[in-house]
Symmetry: C2
Subunit: 144 residues, 2 copies
């Protein structure tokens, strides 16, 4: 098995960039008294209304962890629960207006924080990078 081939170099780059992005998102989350996972859930809820179990499965968390996470976010008025119309056992999770506003603010902060990094690429390179990342990103399994 050859080392330092194109897969290794790519893996290294992906891992480094991932840690950098995560560092920024973790800092921004913390500045708003949120965990990274809560930030991620808010991002998902922007355009989905999943049930608890789907969220847990997608995030790789236990359902009990989901309960606690949504509890804490709900207590702060960022998410709410609603009964699922089709299954009386299920509970849907929704983002509130306040949650949506906070999410947009945090994503704006992320963009600002990463501007020095992404700004090292010109317009064409940015589009190219985004396109090359597309096939790498696992198509998210449908929620719900």
């Amino acid at each position: 098995m050859p080392i330092d081939d194109s897969e290794d170099v790519l893996l290294d780059g992906l891992v480094r960039s991932a840690f950098q992005i995560m560092g920024v998102l973790t800092r921004i989350s913390a500045e708003h008294d949120l965990s990274l996972t809560q930030l991620r859930v808010l991002g998902i809820l922007r355009d989905q209304r999943p049930r608890m179990s789907d969220l847990a499965a997608f995030l790789g968390l236990d359902k009990s962890t989901m309960s606690g996470l949504v509890d804490r976010a709900a207590r702060r008025g960022l998410m709410t629960r609603a009964p699922n119309p089709a299954d009386k056992r299920a509970v849907d999770v929704l983002i509130t207006d306040a949650g949506r506003q906070l999410t947009e603010r945090m994503y704006q902060e992320a963009r600002t924080a990463l501007a020095p990094a992404t700004g090292r690429l010109d317009e064409q390179q940015r589009r190219q990078l985004a396109q090359l990342l597309q096939p790498v990103i696992t198509p998210p399994p449908p929620l719900g």
Copy 2:
């Protein structure tokens, strides 16, 4: 401020790929009873011998958190402490042979786990993606 411009699309791709990479690394860490941060530290120690305070600063952790993290890894024989030759206050952190072996195994597992994703690109695209990521990645501040 225009939305959905090339910076937004790129940010979205970077964030998604980061969560995907982190998911893989978190799972692999957990399968070896390690935290993601411990995996990261092991990766750093492969070719550095930083002092506690430098590691903490680089990772954005408190020095007390560093103490605990190194404690737990040392208890498992993956890292060791050694006095810094130049500063009697300082403590260097070193990877052990066992730690190095485990680290290489985990990185191999990461490569395998991500092969389906990176495999969607051909050789030239992989090299191109790695090159485009390079300017985005913050040059790591020197440790020590």
